[in-house]
């Protein structure tokens, strides 16, 4: 065999060994999160948006927090949002949560093949999206439904996509939750992890080449930062000082693998920024005010040609990875309750209450309205069909959009598929036949 595994000649040296990361808690373990450095809200400095990148680097190992246990906002990162904006943020969160609940149930009822919740991570997409301009292009991963909802995208369109029904603008082609909404500056989602990150950099560069004012913001999971694409994105963003914000949502888990398998034991994700010489911030991802403030800071920086920012949102994935996943097989069931940074929706609600701008009744009413709104959209969408009940797209649509024009070989295949349809379903609507 090729190679040299013979250690005999150097027998007095200790054998080499590997470190294979292991999360602190597995199913059945008692959870103790005291090792997580929960910083004092308000204690982190807020450098000028146009500062040298290096000035932010201490913040890459810190944790920017605004909301304290007293439910009040503290320190220089307080974005000082008016109550109206805060209530809108809370309402979007309530709506997103209600949406997740119902779609999860829809999957369990066989109305679609797949769904992914963002429970506990709402602030990382909703508060952040609200800090951007409406026409800044969002390059999402698959857990940013909150960003789309915060931009006012119709819920019914989202459900049509999830149910792959007749109303699905993406013609039933995409996996459920892989939205595309150009009119809402929401880039089409890919199932291939991290590919959107360097694309966002390219979009930002294009905006700069054209002398435009819009920037790009992209989201990626902690696990996906291990992909080469992520590093290519950082390199290009750094070299060209592209107007882009790279948001890493560290929800601690990548399916069954904890963040240690993306290198979290050795460095924070925000600290990746240091190596690339770009600005970096590490933020309490369950603190809606801190999320907003950090995103706004980075967006302003990008918009003033001061360069890109890499933000790590330190959060927790409260639910399973997707409807295909059962987290009880790999992590302690207690983690969710013990998570020291709380729940973003509760924290924002309590903040508004502390400001005297909200109360429990208002919240109950808001939650109910959100549930009703989703239910109504769901009822409407269902009328256009669900995946579990047949195919709702005409067969020939399968051959559209592969190329701009349909070439001869696809035209032939289209004809073939229509002949097959007759044989398979006769005159019946294929929706009924299944």
């Amino acid at each position: 065999m090729a190679g040299n595994g013979d250690t005999d000649t150097r027998g007095n040296l200790p054998p080499l060994s590997l470190h294979v990361p292991e999360p602190k808690f597995r199913p059945g373990d008692e959870v103790d999160f005291s090792h997580i450095g929960v910083t004092e809200p308000g204690a982190q400095p807020r450098p000028d948006e146009n500062c040298e990148a290096g000035e932010t680097h201490p913040l890459c190992n810190d944790l920017i927090r605004v909301l304290g246990d007293d439910n009040k906002a503290h320190g220089p990162w307080d974005p000082k949002l008016d109550p109206e904006t805060l209530r809108r943020m809370l309402q979007t969160m309530a709506l997103t949560r209600a949406f997740d609940e119902r779609m999860f149930r829809g999957q369990r009822q066989g109305k679609t093949s797949f769904y992914m919740k963002c429970t506990g991570e709402e602030a990382t997409s909703i508060s952040t999206a609200m800090a951007l301009a409406d026409d800044d292009m969002i390059f999402p991963s698959y857990r940013q439904q909150g960003a789309l909802i915060s931009r006012g995208y119709p819920l019914i369109e989202m459900i049509n996509q999830i149910y792959s029904n007749e109303g699905d603008k993406l013609k039933g082609r995409q996996l459920p939750i892989m939205y595309s909404a150009r009119d809402y500056s929401f880039y089409t989602i890919s199932g291939n992890l991290a590919t959107q990150v360097p694309q966002a950099v390219g979009f930002g560069m294009a905006s700069a080449i054209k002398g435009d004012t819009k920037i790009a913001a992209t989201w990626v999971g902690d696990g996906s930062t291990a992909e080469g694409d992520f590093h290519a994105a950082c390199t290009f963003a750094s070299v060209y000082r592209a107007p882009v914000v790279i948001n890493v949502v560290n929800n601690q888990w990548a399916i069954s693998s904890f963040s240690g398998f993306a290198g979290a034991e050795n460095a924070t994700f925000a600290a990746r920024a240091i190596g690339y010489g770009i600005a970096g911030l590490r933020v309490d991802g369950n603190d809606p005010l801190a999320c907003y403030a950090a995103e706004r800071w980075a967006a302003n920086r990008a918009r003033s040609n001061a360069g890109p920012t890499l933000i790590e949102f330190f959060s927790y994935r409260a639910e399973g990875h997707s409807t295909s996943d059962d987290p009880s097989g790999y992590r302690s069931a207690q983690e969710r309750e013990e998570w020291p940074l709380g729940d973003p929706v509760m924290r924002l609600k309590n903040h508004l209450i502390a400001l005297g701008e909200w109360d429990e009744d208002g919240q109950a009413k808001m939650d109910l309205e959100a549930a009703e709104q989703v239910k109504a959209a769901n009822t409407e969408a269902q009328k256009l069909g669900t995946l579990g009940h047949g195919m709702h797209q005409p067969f020939e649509t399968m051959f559209e959009d592969v190329y701009e024009d349909v070439p001869w070989h696809l035209a032939e295949q289209r004809e073939q598929s229509l002949r097959e349809k007759e044989i398979k379903f006769g005159k019946k609507d294929p929706g009924e036949a299944q």
């Binding site: 797949f114 792959s164 039933g172 996996l175 990548a254 070989h409 073939q416 349809k421 299944q434």
Partner: protein
Amino acid sequence: MIEAINDALDTMLGRDDDVVIFGEDAGYFGGVFRCTAGLQEKYGTSRVFDAPISECGIMAVAVGMGAYGLRPVPEIQFADYIYPGYDQIVSEAARLRYRSAGEFIAPMTIRSPYGGGIFGGQTHSQSPEALFTHISGMKTVVPSTPYDAKGLLIAAIEDNDPVVFFEPKRIYNGPFEGYYDKPAAAWRSHDASITPEGYYRIELGKANVVREGQALTVLAYGTMVHVAKKVCEEKGVDAEVIDLRTLVPVDIETIEASVEKTGRCLIVHEASRTSGFGAELSALVQERCFYHLEAPIERVTGFDTPYPHSLEWAYFPGPVRIGQALDRLMADI
């Protein structure tokens, strides 16, 4: 088939200390399809471990391990995600032996679930095998039964060349015969679900004649073996169905002998048509059996579009498409 794959890995980890397994979620949890379940517990974290979500890294690390003398069995969670690691496979692993004149080799077996039929949408359904068959220096294997999966995987791990081992995920749990609207069968009731205990191997490069016949030769692999066989049975066509099992090196002798006997050839695969592996098979049959052919060679394949989520059933080369091709081929008999 999942148990058979697990069994093969278990067998090889037990027999050969140089075998190591890693991939996204492949360690503690045992893989999202559970193919590596229990192995970390049994062999420890230096033999079976989770990998970062970095297909490029997973492939490159396997090349380096191979250069040292290990036999890595890296897993790519879905074949659709092999592309970030593609450069390391085709430019590095596949050519390591050649460019070092045999000084270094990459005896790695890349396992990956592939194919559609589970509503995985366009990013969890592709069949990229042709992209690997085009690359010199590596082998491509696709099992179609639990028995074959175990024997072929053991042979692949023992092979000193890099092997991509594509597992048809539609038939992980049972032999899908092409009808979405009929309840899926389980492997339990199938002959090929019986896998002998312990070590056995099925030589790479040897096809399996799964049904003998005189009128027509069907070349298939993976899920399509079951679908094609079923359609031939249903239509009462006296077809010889060959499960290729290995695409490179393909078992040309078995193919030639069969086509010379039957004079007709149907090629079936799930991957898109243009430049699919069927094109290679068709050329081979034409080159070698031209004077025996009594009808044009037919290809039944997926369409040249991405795999559409809600129209899977329309995309999949199922009984109707195969049946029509059989009719055309048999028209003048």
